[in-house]
Every structure is written in C-alpha cells, then in structure tokens.
C-alpha cells in the first residue's frame, strides 16, 4: 500500500485553477477589445480606385459636402457623386493627371479604353442590412457629417473614424445635446462650439457649449428615440 500520487500533485489543482482562470480572463479581455467595432471598424482605410483627397477638395478648395453628396439632406442614403459630377471640373482641371485615368475610362469617350462603366469606390462605412440609417433625418436636425465621419476635411485618404456600433448610436440618441449644432453649421467642418458660444452666446443666452447643446435640443424639439423600430424594420 503506497501513495498513488506523487507529493507535487498536491499543489497541481491550485496551479491549474490559477492558470485556467487567468487564461480565461485574458481571452475575455482580448475579445472585448479586438472583436468589437471599436477595433474592427475604426481606422479602416482601403485604397480607392482614384486617390481622391477630401483634404484638397474640402479644406483647400472649400467645396461643400453637398456638392458631391448631393442627396444627403433629402434621402436616407447619402449618394456618392456620379462620374459626371467629377467630370464637370476635371474635364478642365487637372485633366491630364494620371490619377484620373479611371475617371477618363468611364467618362471620356476620346480616352483609349473608354467603357462608360462607373467607377467602383470601395465602401468604408458599412451598416448591416437590417439597419436603416437615414442621413436626412440627422443633417436636417443639427447633427453634422463630422460627428459620425470625423474630420474628413483633414483626410488625404478617408478612413472610418467612429465605431458606428449600436451602442455608439445609442450614446448620441440618449444625449444628443453633446453633438447638436445650429443647422447653419452642420456642413461646416471648422465649426467650433466654443467659438460659436463666444460669438453668439450672448444672443442665445448660453454661456457654455453644454448650455448651447441643451438650448438647441430644447429649441429644435429634438427627441431621439431608442426603441428598436427607430432603426430596424
């Protein structure tokens, strides 16, 4: 009659427990960081057929968003400019730039290899098919493009700036005052709440940006909904 287990086996269960526990914790942490939209979507920056620079067009040339995304305030779907929109200018401006080859291919009949087929831009901001986000509902009520798409005017190549996850949407729907702007400022990427307050604060009777937000929420009667049917139907 003798011990069937060596003495070191006495501590084994404890060791196993500790290792397993920490491993589980590690996995959970890693998953909750890397497997959420914050990590998966933010920063997604594919290369586009034409290296279109928002920085040049918006920041330097001062184009309004709606020049290209012309239906953003009437339709739920913010359209990507048609070939002709680009062609308007670029048949004169920078016409010979090699970067514009795809545009010529689709717009310029005199171009060798012209096929009239549209340019295929790579989609960056994807909402799932069962989500019905409506651009016009937001830009017409004081939510700026910038709020969701980031400082596009500073982007050489567009990337996703915000997670666009449901909880992220809810955050704003629960406290819209944080992001509300006067309707005039919706498309203004250089808008700065502090400056606005210091400029018009007196007229509006608000001192801080928080007050401004609440004032606008009150003024515009903004009451964002949280129930499912707001985005899913």
């Amino acid at each position: 009659m003798a011990n069937i287990f060596p003495r070191w086996s006495n501590l084994l269960p404890l060791k196993i427990a500790v290792c397993a526990g920490s491993a589980a914790a590690g996995v959970a942490l890693a998953f909750s960081y890397y497997a959420t939209p914050k990590a998966l979507n933010v920063g997604y920056q594919p290369s586009q057929p034409i290296p279109f620079s928002h920085k040049i067009h918006v920041d330097q040339l001062g184009l309004d968003c709606r020049y290209c995304h012309s239906f953003v305030d009437v339709s739920g779907h913010s359209n990507v400019p048609t070939g002709s929109t680009c062609w308007n200018c670029h048949q004169h401006v920078q016409r010979e730039s090699p970067k514009l080859a795809p545009l010529h291919k689709s717009m310029n009949p005199t171009h060798p290899g012209y096929d009239g087929k549209p340019i295929e831009w790579v989609k960056i901001h994807k909402s799932p098919d069962y989500v019905y986000f409506n651009h016009s509902a937001h830009v017409n009520r004081g939510i700026s493009c910038q709020t969701c798409h980031g400082d596009v005017n500073k982007m050489e190549v567009v990337y996703q700036a915000q997670p666009h996850s449901m909880s992220w949407c809810l955050d704003c729907h629960r406290a819209p005052e944080k992001n509300l702007r006067p309707l005039e400022e919706v498309y203004n990427f250089n808008y700065n709440a502090e400056d606005y307050v210091s400029k018009h604060g007196a007229a509006l009777g608000v001192k801080t940006t928080e007050e401004l937000g609440l004032k606008l929420k009150e003024q515009f009667k903004v009451k964002p909904k949280e129930s499912c049917a707001t985005c899913h139907h």
């Binding site: 998966l40 933010v42 239906f71 779907h77 048609t82 717009m107 019905y132 006067p182 499912c228």
Partner: protein
C-alpha cells in the same frame, strides 16, 4: 487616430466572402446582369449597390451570423470582405438613390382599367397603389395588387416559341415581315375585352391596310350582357346615387365589377364616409341579393335570397311582373309563397326609392335576365344622367365572337390569326366549340402572352408579352376616362413585346419588330402611337401630355352614353330561356345545377401562376392553392357524401359528457383539420363529360347546386397527389402546376356559366388534401365580429340603443373592468426629463398611431392581405405549409357564419361576417413582456415593434398573443423554394429560391426575414418613419423662408407633426371599401381615425383581456327592410350573446 492601411489583395476567382455581401453578384445570372446593363444604358448605376443592398437583405441574418463568426475568430480584423459603391456615371433625372419614385399608370382590364400609382425604387416597380385622383378609382383589388408579381414571375415567358419549341427571334421577325408585306393576308386579330383607344385606332389602320383582316374579341367569362345592351355597350353603376340595390347573382363587389364600388361601401357607414355625421340609417343604402352561392356581395347583403341558378330568371320575371311590365309574361310565375313573400316587399321598396334604386344582373346570367334587368331598371327610372345606372358605349365595337372566329377559321375566311387576348382560348373555350382543332389547321397563328400556356403551345408562334408595367399603352376606366399606361422599366427580358408594338410592326411596311426601346435609346414606337392617340383625343401639346403622365388620366374624358333601349331580340331570348329553365325544372339530387364561377384567386385561369393569388384564401371558402366543388350541407347529405348534415358549429353551454359531443366542443370536423384534412371526392357528370374533384361544404348555398370555380388544373407533374397526366406540364410554372381541377371541359357554348341536369357520384374512400386557412366557421358564442341592425330588436331595442350597446356585447356585458397595480399608460423611468421629473416612455408628443377597421364596409376580399404582402416582403410558403397552418400573411381574414336558431324564413342561410385580424398594436401587449431577449418592445409612438435581427425564435410571444397575429418563419422561405414538394424539408440540400428576378420586387425598406424569426404587422413602420423624417426637413425650410438663423426659429408641433390623414398604410390604401382608417390619434377629431375612436360602433376585440389595442373595430350595421319576412333575423349575429 491609428491609420491602419489595408492593402486589399485582388479578389481571387471563386472568392466567396464577397458574395455574402452582394447576393446580386451571387445570383449573377445572365438575365440579371443583362437586365442591369439594359436598364441603365450608360452603365450599371448605383442600382447595383442598391440591388445589392436590398437583395442581400434576404440573407442579412446569415450574414450577421457569418460576420459574428468571423469576429469570434478575430479574422475580420485581418481581412474584411471588400464591397463597392457603384454610382451612376450620368444620373438619371428624378432618381434619388434610396428614395422611391412614384408614377401614375393603370392596369388594363375587361371591367375597366384599375388606375394605379406605382412605387419604383431605382427603376424597379415594387408596389402598386390606387390613383386616388382618378374618377373611376376604387382601391385596388387582389388581382391588381398581385399583378406586380407577374412582372418578376419565375415562369414568365421570356423567349419566342414555335409550336411550343424555343425558336429564334429572327425567324419570327421573318414571318412578321412576310405578313406585313402581304396586304391581302387573310389575317384575324383576337383581342381581349379590355379597352385601349390606341389599339382601337390601330385596329382601324389595320383594317385599312389588310383588306381581308377580321377582328374578334374573346374573354372566357365575358358573359352575354352585350346581347341586351347592344354591341360594345355595357351598364355602369354609380353607387353613390343608389339607395336601394338589387343584385341578381351579380358579385359587383367581387369578381364581377359594374363600376367603381367604393361609393357603395361609403354608404354602408351610418356616420358617412368620413365619420363626421351622427349615425343616420336613412343615409345608408340597402342591398338585396338573389344568388345561388355566397359571394362577397352576398356577404354584404341586408337581405339575401338563395335560389338555384335557373330560378334567378323567374325571380327577375316576377319582379318585372310586380312592376307590371309586359315583358314579364314570357317568364313562368313563381308559385312558392315563401319566395313571393320575399319578393313583394322588396319590389315595393325599390319602387319607393323613386329612381334611386338599381337592379344589377350578374354577367354570367343568360341574356334573358339582362333584358329583364334593363326593363326593370328602365321602369324604376334608374338609367340616365345623374341616375344610379348608365349604359355606356365602349370602343370595342364591331368585333366578332369566338364562335364567329371558329366559323371563319373552318370556312377559311382567315388563315392567319394573331391572338392578343389575355384569355387562353385553347384551354378555356367552351368544350363543344373545338377551337383547338380549328386553330391547328392554321399555317400561321401568333400568340402574344406572358405565360407559355396551352394556347402558346398550340399556336405556331408564341411571342413573350411585355407586362403592362413594361410597355406604353393606354386604356379606359370603367366610365371611360382616358387613362395612360406608362412603363416603369424596360422589359425584363429583351424579347418581351407589347400588344401595341406587335400591331405597329404589322402596320409598318418593313414589319420590323421594335420592342422595349428604339435605336440609340429612342423610346419605343408604342410611345409615339399613344401620343398620337392622345393628341387625337384633344390632348395636344407637351403640357397636356405632361399633365396626363402626372395625373394618369385625361380629365373630363369618358364614354359616350348608349341608348338604353330594349333589344329587339329580348322577347325571343326570354322565351327561349324560359323554355330552357322549364326543361331543367327544379334542381334535384338526381339532376343538379352547376355554376361555373370565376375564381377569386385565378379568375378565369390567367393568374394560376401568381403565387400571391394562389396563396391568398378564397374569401368565402377560405381555400388556398386549389379549387373544389362547393355544395350545400343538406345536398351533401342527400348525395350520401356525408352521413349527417354538416352544420355551422354551434356554441354549446352544455356540460361535456352530459350531452353528446357530436359537432360540439370545437371538435375536429369530418374531414380532419390542418395537414390531416382529407377532403372527400365526387364525380360530377354534366353535358356528357365528367370531372372528379373534392367537395367542400358551403353554407348559405342553394340546395342541389354545385359551384365549381374555373381556371385550375392547367398542368401536372410527377408530384401530383392524384397522379394525373403530365403532358401539359409545360403550360404552367412551379406555382400553377398540380393546382386544382379543370372544369372547362364540362362547359358548352350554351351552358358556359350554368349547366343543368348534372349527376354526382360519391367516390367512396377517394380523398384529396385541401389547404384551408380557417377550419371553424362560427364565433362559438363569442362576440368577436359584432353586428347591429337599424331595425328595432324586441330585446335590444332601437338602432340607437343597439349602437350604445355595441361595446357591451357578449362577454364584455359582464366582464369586470381591468384594474392595474401601476399606472399603465405612461410607465416611467429614472431618466429625468427637462423638467427634472421622471419622464414617460411612450412619450412621443407628435405621433401616436392608431387604426380602426369598419366591419360595416369590410366585405372580406383579401386585397389588404396581398397589399401587405407586397409592401412587407412577406414570403409565399406553398400548399404543404398552408395546410399545416404556417401561412405568413400578416393580415388574416377571418370569416364567420352566424346562424339564427329561430330563423323561420331560411335557417340554412347564415349571416356572413368577415373580420380582418392583424397585429392590433396593444398598448399593453402580452407578447412583449414574455420575450426573453427584448426583440419585441413598444416604441415611443405606440407601435409594438419587432426587431427581426434580435429575435431568436422562442415563439413565446406568439403563444401569448390573443389575436394570433404573429407569424413564424419555420423555414427559409426566401432562400429555399417552397413550391417544390417537400423541398423545404431538404434543408441545405434543397433547391434554392424561386427565380432569378423575384428578389427585385422586394421593398428595400423592409428587412427580408430568414428562418427562425418571428414577424408581424407593424403598421408599415417604414412608411411612418419615412413620413416623419420627411416632415423633419420642414424645420430647415421654414428657417430659410423666414430668412432667420435656425437658432431663432421656433420649432412647433405643426412643423414636426405629419399633416392630418396625409399618410396611408398599405392595407388602407388598397382597400376598395375604405374599411380601414389609419392615422395619428393625437390629431383627435381632426383625423378620421380620431373620429372613429369616438363613435359608438367602436369596440376593442377581446377587450376582456385588457390589452388596450390601438386597432379597434367598428361594428357592422345591417340595414334591413322591416317589411321583409327575414328582417327579424338580420344583423343579429352577436347582439344576443352574453
């Protein structure tokens, strides 16, 4: 911001990750691709992206599964499937990506066009609604609603056939050129009964060009009315002017329209069309119906007399006699005292109406009855300007009948036939005519049709027809308003040709067939033809044309009135008919009478391949996917089919086991229930032909009468339950195959609608399974679909008192009030509002949606269900699943029969009460609280929302729904083809979804649900949201107009609230009876719905549970004539229930 640059590798061939995202690519069939290209000649446009977006809705959940799976393994981080946005190169005018565009058009029909407003998304027509501007508008019936599906039908004819074999277009064009060149061609044209001014004009040109040409008109169920009213003339009723209506077997509210029917239903509402007056029975109309089997019209009747088909003639004669018309003497008198006691007071009532009474004769009745009806109407002074009836002259003049055609074919007067009729003569022509044989003799016969049906196969050439949503044409409303038919889209399949285009090709010297569009994107020649016609009708100039395209019709245009004089043949016809009737004599069980009726789903058979129509239950019999012989219970017993009389189940308050349970206690009926239903079969022999088909008991039907709906049994395959011959398999698609029983062979020219002397043999032991959506026909003593009568009731008192008592009928008379422990209206949270106090959750101060359904005008047609199906991407599940009770229709049309035990006049004529039931959006919804995952919760504006992507499918909500308004996707109906037998049960190995274009009909604003998900009505929430968001834009516009900064603009309720009654939900829009009222309850009395909620007829279904539904019902009001013998039993379905 970390900018991680992904360099995407070239997508290798056979890469699948992308195809999750775009089913468009996944289903990259040539047809689809080609369609895309040709739809936008400048290159596939944003469409590609949109179609991708919306087609992939069908697979959104799988997609979600996939992406979560990916996330789970952290793979999405290393490479995400790349998807593309494909904008237009040159933007088409008016197309705003993501927004619907609406066009006015119309659906040409024999009974007068249905004016439509078509919803299109990036060029895809997805939904049809009525054009409310049109003078002849009356909602859209089931046929019109479902017709959009035909456009995308998988079995749609898309290539030329030569004697049933696929052929080259070139060959056909050669034939056509030959014809066009030969001016002496003995060519015949067979048109349908729909009226098209352009076609009429071209007909004249054709007659001019082809001297030997002859023109004919044929529809299977056209009837003999024209014999009475003259060539091309037809009666049209104006129900707004009719106080008293007598229908002689005329289903004017259903399949036998006699003019816009909406005004009729408006006058079924005691409070008036918009519920503004105080209830006034004198403003209501009164409907008498004499018919042999229940029709929708019969269901609306205040007084209904059931008589054998041949008896109708006698009744008409008797009425004429009562009115002292000489013409009456041609008809035998009615001896039966009971019938007389019914007729006399009725006639008196008609007379009393003083020119505000009208008699309508069913088009299936023999000419004699129409003669009599004309005489009676004339005597009643019902015809003429400002009178309830007008006789109008259509353009369809001087057209030969099918019999003439047959004669000319045999006589060799014509050797080439162009068949343009939507009917299917080879299949549906009277059996004794032998049309097919004569057709076979022709060396050239051209058939234009959307289906490769029997005629398509019999003809030497079949030309695929363009759908009316694909072609330029014009047509006329019931009263002749000139109505434009404009294309929403180029033909889906490039060989599809429209009627006009074909005629134009024949007219042109070259005979060149140009369809769809001309060279270099020029419009189709039909366009010019239509404009020419329009110009000739006084619509000259661009402005007029634009107005026409916008409004859809030419204001002020209408048919000219025809002289409503007795036809010379009247006496003769009546005499003949009288002799016929005499020969037939009283129907008996050894010599029954057969009615060949139009079917509510396939009409004359033309819609047999329309899945929506097949799946919608027949409003009366609740039968889907098949037809059956309808027989009255007593007759069925006498014929030995059932060993005792099948009764409308009676509620029994007896104690079980003390009384025999037979027929009581909601037992299963003699034929079984659900998938176990096995219907007994009989063999009907008439006109020397016989047909085996299943029997269905039909209440309120005349004894010794069999009703057989036409249009079924067009083709069978190996899966047929009865193993019938499969030689005609090619005539139908997956939808129409193995469907029902073909009664056309029983018809002869003489007995096309009513045959006598039929024998019935009960086929012991032989059964056939039928899929019914409703198994139990009585209310079982529950006051569900409530009725009141304008007549004094000895117990319940006057009309007023009955009205006051509506909400206290049945169980509600003694149910205690509901008591709540907490304040239910506005449950509160700990989120403080601006006032710092806790704010309510159902708190939208702008909109609180509500609906009411007026049973007084609801007739039970299923137009709403199909409209809902089209709007909300509701799948079809097939007969197998229907039988199991797995239908997906969000609106279930319940139909109850109510018998009066003491009905001394006719106990076998139960009242017919329909009740549409969809989700009633309970404010206190039992379904919500039981969902473990919060997939169904209440919205701020009072909807019972359903988040499909959150649902895991426990089905608990549906169990707890008292109205059983929820529908569960037991299978992947959108992904797997439900039409192939057992296919759904093959799961992943089953055949994939139906067709390559069907998904193009889907509404991009509604999620396509996958299997395992619960779904239900949400008041077309996508429409509500769209309206609300559109309204939000107003704020900015106001600011701009005022020229003030937005921060100084006061945003008021009026800015943000959707205007009163400006928004319609799909079912409401479609309803021909205006029975559905929907709107914002916060508009109170300003809105129609607000008014309905406050009138006395308003009651909540199952109020006892205290669910406080947002959809309430308005009790049905019957307006009986107190001198009638059956008056005491009218409108009593529920008032005596406790």
């Amino acid at each position: 911001m970390s900018k991680r640059i992904w360099q995407h590798p070239e997508v290798p061939a056979g890469e699948t990750t992308v195809s999750w995202r775009s089913v468009g690519q996944l289903e990259d069939t040539p047809a689809f691709r080609e369609w895309l290209d040709r739809e936008f000649p400048q290159g596939a446009a944003e469409m590609a992206d949109e179609s991708e977006a919306e087609t992939s809705r069908r697979s959104f959940l799988k997609l979600m599964g996939a992406s979560t799976a990916l996330a789970g393994f952290g793979m999405a981080a290393c490479r995400r499937p790349e998807t593309y946005i494909v904008p237009y190169t040159k933007a088409p005018e008016w197309v705003i990506p993501g927004k619907a565009t609406y066009y006015a058009s119309a659906m040409p029909r024999a009974c007068g066009a249905t004016p439509l407003v078509v919803t299109t998304f990036e060029g895809r027509p997805t939904k049809l609604g009525p054009n409310s501007l049109h003078p002849d508008v009356c909602g859209t019936d089931a046929f019109a609603q479902a017709s959009v599906l035909d456009l995308y039908a998988p079995n749609r004819s898309r290539r030329f056939l030569s004697s049933g074999k696929p052929a080259k277009r070139a060959d056909f064009e050669a034939v056509l050129a030959g014809l066009a060149a030969n001016k002496a061609a003995k060519i015949g044209f067979l048109f349908g009964a729909d009226d098209s001014p352009t076609r009429a004009r071209l007909t004249k040109e054709l007659a001019a060009k082809f001297t030997a040409a002859k023109f004919y008109q044929y529809e299977a169920l056209a009837g003999e009315a024209s014999k009475a009213y003259g060539d091309g003339a037809k009666p049209v009723a104006d129900f707004s002017k009719a106080d008293r209506i007598l229908s002689l077997d005329c289903d004017f509210a259903g399949v036998d329209p006699q003019g816009a029917v909406t005004p009729f239903f408006d006058r079924r509402k005691p409070e008036g069309k918009t519920y503004e007056q105080t209830p006034d029975e004198s403003k209501m109309n009164r409907l008498y119906v004499v018919e042999s089997a229940y029709s929708l019209t019969g269901g609306m009747a205040d007084h209904r007399l059931r008589v054998a088909p041949t008896e109708v003639l006698k009744v008409a004669g008797q009425i004429a006699r009562e009115l002292g018309l000489p013409i009456a003497k041609g008809v035998n008198e009615i001896k039966d005292a009971k019938t007389l006691s019914w007729i006399k007071p009725m006639v008196a009532d008609l007379k009393a109406a003083g020119g505000k009474a009208v008699v309508l004769a069913g088009s299936r009745l023999p000419a004699a009855v129409h003669h009599l009806a004309l005489a009676i109407n004339t005597a009643l002074g019902a015809i003429g300007e400002g009178k309830p009836l007008a006789v109008v002259q259509t353009d369809a003049k001087g057209l030969g009948s099918l019999a003439d055609l047959k004669a000319d074919l045999d006589g060799g007067a014509i050797d080439t036939l162009v068949m343009l009729t939507p009917a299917n003569p080879v299949y549906d022509a009277p059996a004794d005519l032998g049309f097919e044989a004569s057709l076979a003799k022709l060396k050239t016969s051209i058939h234009l049709g959307e289906r490769t049906d029997a005629t398509a196969h019999a003809a030497t050439w079949h030309v695929p027809a363009a759908h009316y949503l694909e072609a330029w044409s014009d047509t006329r409303g019931a009263r002749g308003a000139y109505t434009i038919v404009q294309p929403m889209i180029l033909p889906l399949y490039q060989d599809c040709v429209s009627e006009i285009e074909l005629l134009l090709a024949l007219l042109s010297d070259s005979g060149k067939l140009i369809n769809g569009e001309g060279e270099k994107g020029a419009p189709s020649p039909a366009y010019d033809a239509v404009r020419k016609t329009f110009a000739s009708l006084g619509g000259g100039g661009e402005a007029a044309w634009k107005t026409l395209l916008r409004d859809g019709f030419l204001a002020g245009s209408s048919y000219s009135l025809a002289a409503a004089s007795q036809a010379p043949t009247a006496e003769a016809d009546i005499a003949a008919a009288n002799i016929e009737a005499g020969k037939a004599g009283e129907p008996s069980k050894d010599s029954l009478q057969v009615v060949f009726s139009a079917d509510s789903s396939v009409f004359d058979g033309r819609w047999i391949d329309n899945a929506w129509l097949q799946e919608i239950p027949d409003p009366i019999s609740k039968l889907t996917w098949d037809n059956a012989a309808l027989i009255a219970p007593k007759t069925a017993k006498e014929l030995g089919i059932y060993d005792q009389i099948v009764e409308v189940e009676q509620y029994s308050d007896a104690v079980p086991y003390v009384v025999p349970a037979q027929g009581k206690f909601a037992k299963v009926g003699p034929d079984g229930e659900g998938e176990n239903r096995k219907q007994r079969m009989i063999e009907v022999t008439v006109n020397g032909k016989s047909l085996e088909l299943p029997v269905l008991i039909s209440f309120g039907q005349a004894e010794n009468t069999i009703v057989i709906p036409l249009g079924y049994g067009q083709g069978f395959d190996k899966d047929d339950e009865l193993g019938r011959k499969t030689d005609q398999q090619g005539h139908v698609g997956l939808v129409g195959v193995n469907r029902g029983f073909n009664a056309y062979p029983l018809r002869t020219s003489a007995t096309s609608y009513i045959a006598t002397g039929a024998k019935v043999k009960f086929l012991e032991g032989k059964t056939y399974s039928l899929a019914l959506t409703q198994e139990h026909s009585s209310m079982y003593g529950r006051a569900l679909a409530r009725e009141v009568s304008t007549m004094e009731d000895e117990h319940k008192g006057s009309f007023k008192q009955q009205l006051a008592n509506v909400s206290k009928q049945g169980n509600d008379s003694h149910a205690p009030p509901n008591v709540y422990l907490y304040k239910p209206e506005t449950s509160s949270t700990w989120h403080p509002g601006p006032d710092g106090k806790a704010q309510p959750l159902i708190n939208d101060p702008l909109h609180q949606w509500g609906m009411s359904i007026d049973l007084s005008s609801c007739m039970g047609c299923a137009a709403c269900s199909i409209a809902c199906q089209a709007e909300n991407n509701i799948p079809v599940v097939g007969k197998e699943q229907m039988a199991r009770g797995r239908e997906m229709h969000w609106i279930r049309m319940d139909r109850y029969y109510a018998t009066q035990k003491d009905n001394t006049f006719d106990a076998d004529n139960p009242a017919f009460v329909p009740q549409p039931v969809a989700c009633v959006q309970c404010e206190s919804a039992p379904c919500e609280t039981v969902c473990p995952v919060n997939a169904t919760i209440h919205t701020e504006d009072g909807l019972n929302a359903m988040a499909y992507n959150r649902c895991i499918g426990t089905r608990y909500c549906a169990n707890n729904c008292p109205y059983k308004a929820r529908r569960f996707n037991y299978f992947d109906y959108n992904k797997r083809n439900p039409l192939i037998k057992h296919n759904l049960y093959h799961g992943p190995f089953g055949t994939k979804a139906v067709g390559d274009a069907e998904h193009l009909q889907k509404n991009p604003n509604v999620t396509v649900r996958m299997r395992g998900v619960m779904e239900k009505c949400t008041y077309c929430v996508q429409r509500l949201k769209d309206a609300v968001i559109r309204q939000k834009r107003g704020q900015k516009q106001e600011a701009l107009v005022a020229g003030k900064p937005s921060t100084e603009m006061e945003v008021t309720t009026s800015t943000l609230r959707v205007p009163v009654d400006s928004i319609k939900v799909a079912c409401q829009e479609a309803c021909p009876a205006d029975a559905i009222t929907f709107g914002n309850l916060l508009d109170k009395e300003k809105s129609a719905v607000g008014r309905t909620k406050s009138i006395e007829r308003n009651y909540d279904l199952l109020n006892y549970i205290g669910t406080r539904p947002r959809t309430s019902y308005l009790a049905r009001v019957k307006n009986p004539n107190q001198h009638m013998p059956d008056a005491p039993f009218i409108g009593k379905s529920t008032i005596h229930m406790v």
